[in-house]
Symmetry: C2
Subunit: 190 residues, 2 copies
DNA sequence: GTCTATAGGGGGATAGAC
DNA sequence: GTCTATCCCCCTATAGAC
């Protein structure tokens, strides 16, 4: 039972890392198996199909984000600190072997992944965007963020640039990603 | 000879569309062959390997962009119109079956494509960013664009958000992409 | 829970006829 | 230039032993 949980969690961890590194269609059961020192079939025992494995990865990713934003250590932060925390998530991905955002990876592969994963991708993206829009609105009302128009519109700009920035950094280097973050701070806080 | 050119060009066109739709590792020679009504081997005659095909697609894409920006019909445009033209390229991709930017697609697959394609991706991204930065600087000097900091920094924000915006739109709809563009116009022109 | 063994399909690529 | 035929590899997935 505890051994089961360990393997299952290890598979999830590796699958998540691989999806952010190579994409859903860019890794195989063999990658995970060899890394974990088990055989192909062992993975199928825990996750009957690759589609199920991918779905579990995204579901856990979503749950983790909701857990974070509902935790007082984030929820009670002032808007500026909340945003810095959010930017930090993406900076950490970049620092962690040049990973990209899971949502961005799945959106790029949108037309070559199973329908259930597309649905998971939509849900994840919605949740990221909703939280960001709410945070921007909160900050503008508090007078610390400055932007015009609908908060959701500004949120879509920021979210898309963080996604795209992590990708851009693969071609042009980490500085490119930090430039995106710094420019947002300039634009919002001035 | 003319028949050769026709087939070769048709392969390039289809491969480019497929890379923007499904990614480099998301399409196969079989896709192209069946669509064109030829056999697998015919494609290998024109492009010895998939790597060569992908490289030719990106090279043509780069050449086309350089041709555009050096043409008087774009080169002589005022900065605001230049930027609108650039945004229009991405809007057209979105309208064309939800394609994403070729650079973004390749960056997401960066760790699962051949080295020669990675080099092509870097070159393409550099060229897009350089042109955008120069245009932003030109507009700021002319007093029509308003932003603070290095033009390349602002350019990296805009480019990454266009890339990411096309991807976001796959999950949340076309409005999400237009929101990104509109927000940029607000931010720059106010 | 994990193994061996294998099925069954799709992928890129090549040889040689036409 | 395009075809048929085929090779070989990697993939996901399953059956049944341990």
């Amino acid at each position: 039972m505890s051994k089961s949980s360990n393997t299952k969690r290890a598979i999830l961890n590796l699958a998540e890392a691989l999806m952010q590194d190579k994409g859903f269609n860019g890794f195989s059961y063999a990658h995970i198996a060899s890394e974990l020192g088990v055989k192909n079939a062992a993975i199928h025992y825990h996750f009957p199909s690759k589609e199920a494995l991918g779905g579990a990865v995204v579901q856990r990713y979503r749950d983790r984000f909701q857990l974070w934003v509902n935790n007082p250590s984030v929820k009670d932060l002032p808007p500026v600190k909340k945003l810095e925390w959010f930017f930090g998530i993406y900076s950490d991905m970049r620092a962690d072997k040049g990973k990209v955002c899971l949502a961005g990876s799945l959106e790029t592969e949108f037309n070559v992944i199973p329908e259930s994963l597309r649905a998971q991708t939509k849900a994840l993206t919605n949740e990221l965007l909703s939280w960001l829009a709410a945070t921007l609105e909160e900050g503008r009302r508090a007078g610390v963020f400055h932007f015009t128009g609908d908060p959701t519109r500004k949120a879509s700009l920021i979210l898309s640039s963080l996604q795209g920035g992590l990708q851009l950094a693969r071609a042009l280097g980490t500085d490119m990603f930090h430039a995106v973050v710094e420019q947002h701070k300039q634009d919002l806080l001035v």
